[in-house]
């Protein structure tokens, strides 16, 4: 069996150094190789994909992207690595880990605990998406798209609209479209302050709504369509959603 490949993600250099030392101490008991380290989640995702890591040691408390959100994005990979969370002190996260039997280590980390966690991870224990969502229901800052073995992150703030198509969502930014494997209803719940439903199959960014226009005549009735900043295309507003939506573009 080839040695397992470990990636370290922590925003603090001393914490990364310490984990490397401890991994070194564990090496005789469990053969492994450190495939690299990253100072934040965005770099960490690219590193994990490029190195095809088996295990990731990730700090929870990081700038820009928390360790939990990082772990959620990992799940779009074809072969997501096992995740071991590391935290100095986060009462709420620790409670959630206990409840969901997710592996975690507390800083300062003990070599013995690290070894146990690594062995468990090497045996193939994996996280499920649902567990991560229940640990931290706070909305993500990015959507993640798996493309040719890499993870592409799309900041939530850049998304103009999301359209449901069969089992995928089309996610439209100013530059291009992405396909993500998510459900429109779940996105609507997670980001209720950010997106609003204008149609059975469509959510649009609230802050980009510039107004409404009389749309084309369909089935004998003239409907409304929504005008969004940064988008030429006008999206139809369904009669059912119109009462909830019509006040949004006004006064801007």
């Amino acid at each position: 069996m080839s040695p397992i490949r470990v990636v370290i993600v922590d925003d603090e250099q001393p914490a990364r150094n310490r984990l490397r030392e401890l991994l070194e101490d564990c090496r005789s008991d469990l053969p492994h190789a450190v495939a690299g380290e990253a100072a934040n989640g965005v770099q960490g995702l690219q590193l994990v994909a490029a190195a095809d890591a088996d295990v990731v040691l990730v700090d929870i408390h990081m700038p820009e992207m928390s360790g939990i959100e990082f772990a959620r994005h990992l799940q779009v990979l074809e072969r997501p690595p096992a995740v071991i969370f590391v935290t100095a002190h986060d009462r709420y996260a620790i409670e959630a880990f206990e409840v969901n039997a997710v592996d975690y280590l507390t800083k300062p980390v003990r070599a013995v605990r690290l070894l146990t966690a690594l062995k468990k991870a090497a045996s193939g224990a994996r996280l499920s998406r649902g567990v991560l969502e229940s640990i931290d229901p706070a909305p993500r800052r990015h959507f993640s798209v798996a493309e040719r073995g890499r993870v592409t992150l799309v900041p939530v703030s850049e998304v103009i609209y999301l359209m449901a198509e069969l089992k995928y969502l089309t996610l439209r930014t100013r530059e291009r479209e992405h396909l993500v494997e998510e459900s429109l209803t779940q996105v609507e719940q997670e980001f209720s302050g950010v997106f609003v439903r204008v149609h059975r199959n469509c959510l649009v960014a609230r802050r980009l709504i510039r107004g409404f226009e009389r749309g084309v005549e369909t089935e004998g009735e003239v409907g409304w369509s929504v005008v969004l900043e940064g988008l030429e295309e006008k999206l139809p507003v369904s009669r059912r959603q119109w009462p909830q939506v019509k006040s949004l573009g006004s006064g801007k």
Binding site: A15, N40, H61, A88, K107
Partner: protein, 337 residues
């Protein structure tokens, strides 16, 4: 300093130069006068007349007494409580007696024609106000220890302790000298945290404590943490509540530096303008991270301690300007004995 180990603050005269104390005296004596007027009036029409009469006799004496107390306040502070109280009574009665000729001159009411009656009224009003300050003192001394306990919990986040220990561990094998220095800073910091923190300390000491704290944070945050001190040497001796700046600096790191990938600057500015001490602390503002708890607790805690020490003469304000979070504190500049 002999009071450090006692559970209650000893009885002490209020600070007659404190704005809060002065307004409390003026308000309570006038409230007493109103009560007195109510008691003396048989009908509503009479009440207004009584109030005017009493005010005419009362206000000159009251104002004179307050002014004299203000003037002799430093002398009173040297006396113990009972002597001081006797001195206050003497001052009030003297003021009352000295201004008595004025009563007959401006014609006042019949009620205040008698010197003995005048002195009796002054003495009882003084007694009531003294009793009020005595009770207030008693009510607030447990509050100070309570605030101290509360502060103990809020001061150093466990998050900081564990991260620092972890950073020290990371140094032990490669750079034992730096590890030693870091542990010494940590020990010093906790010695202060665990000390009895009811007495004011010199600003200089509080600043050096903050520097030790920031050294430890620098260890783990590296170049992400930048600090700029703009200190005024004239403010060094000013007395401040202990551990009043450190929690604010800790907040600045937690809310201003940790959520950012790019380096962030914490700026502390201290200035003394005649008898006031001004302090301003700013850090980068990250609107997305406002859900992180703890900020309001530390602020409320410090505001309360400032109020316990300086009453209305201290203030703490916060605002967000130019993408930075800003805390401004003003308090009287005082030096130790």
């Amino acid at each position: 300093m002999q009071s450090i180990r006692q559970n209650h603050l000893p009885d002490a005269l209020p600070d007659f130069r404190n704005l809060g104390v002065i307004s409390r005296i003026l308000l309570s004596v006038n409230a007493l006068a109103l009560l007195f007027a109510v008691a003396r009036s048989r009908e509503i029409g009479e009440f207004a007349v009584k109030v005017t009469e009493i005010a005419g006799s009362l206000e000159p004496v009251l104002l004179a007494a307050v002014v004299v107390l203000y003037a002799v306040s430093p002398l009173l502070e040297r006396l113990d409580y009972v002597q001081g109280l006797a001195a206050v009574f003497a001052i009030v009665l003297a003021a009352s007696a000295a201004l008595f000729p004025l009563q007959t001159y401006i014609g006042g009411s019949d009620e205040f024609r008698d010197l003995a009656w005048n002195l009796l009224c002054s003495a009882s009003a003084t007694a009531v106000v003294a009793w009020y300050f005595h009770l207030r003192n008693r009510a607030f001394s447990p509050a100070i220890s309570e605030a101290r306990l509360q502060a103990l919990q809020a001061r150093i986040r466990p998050h900081f302790l564990f991260n620092s220990l972890n950073a020290v561990l990371s140094l032990i094998r490669k750079d034992p000298k730096r590890a030693e220095g870091a542990l010494e800073d940590l020990a010093e910091l906790f010695r202060t945290v665990m000390a009895d923190n009811r007495q004011l300390v010199a600003l200089r000491d509080e600043v050096s404590l903050c520097r030790q704290y920031l050294n430890l944070e620098q260890l783990r945050l590296g170049e992400r943490l930048r600090v700029e001190w703009r200190l005024d040497p004239a403010a060094d001796d000013g007395l401040v509540p202990p551990m009043f700046l450190q929690p604010l600096v800790e907040n600045a790191v937690y809310h201003g530096i940790e959520p950012g990938i790019e380096p962030g600057l914490i700026e502390v500015r201290v200035e003394r303008r005649s008898d006031r001490l001004w302090l301003q602390l700013t850090n980068p503002y990250h609107p997305d991270y406002q859900h992180r708890q703890g900020n309001h607790m530390a602020l409320a805690n410090i505001r309360e301690r400032l109020q316990l020490h300086f009453d209305v003469e201290a203030s703490l304000n916060t605002r967000i300007a130019d993408g930075r979070y800003e805390i401004g504190i003003a308090m009287p500049y005082r030096t130790g004995p």
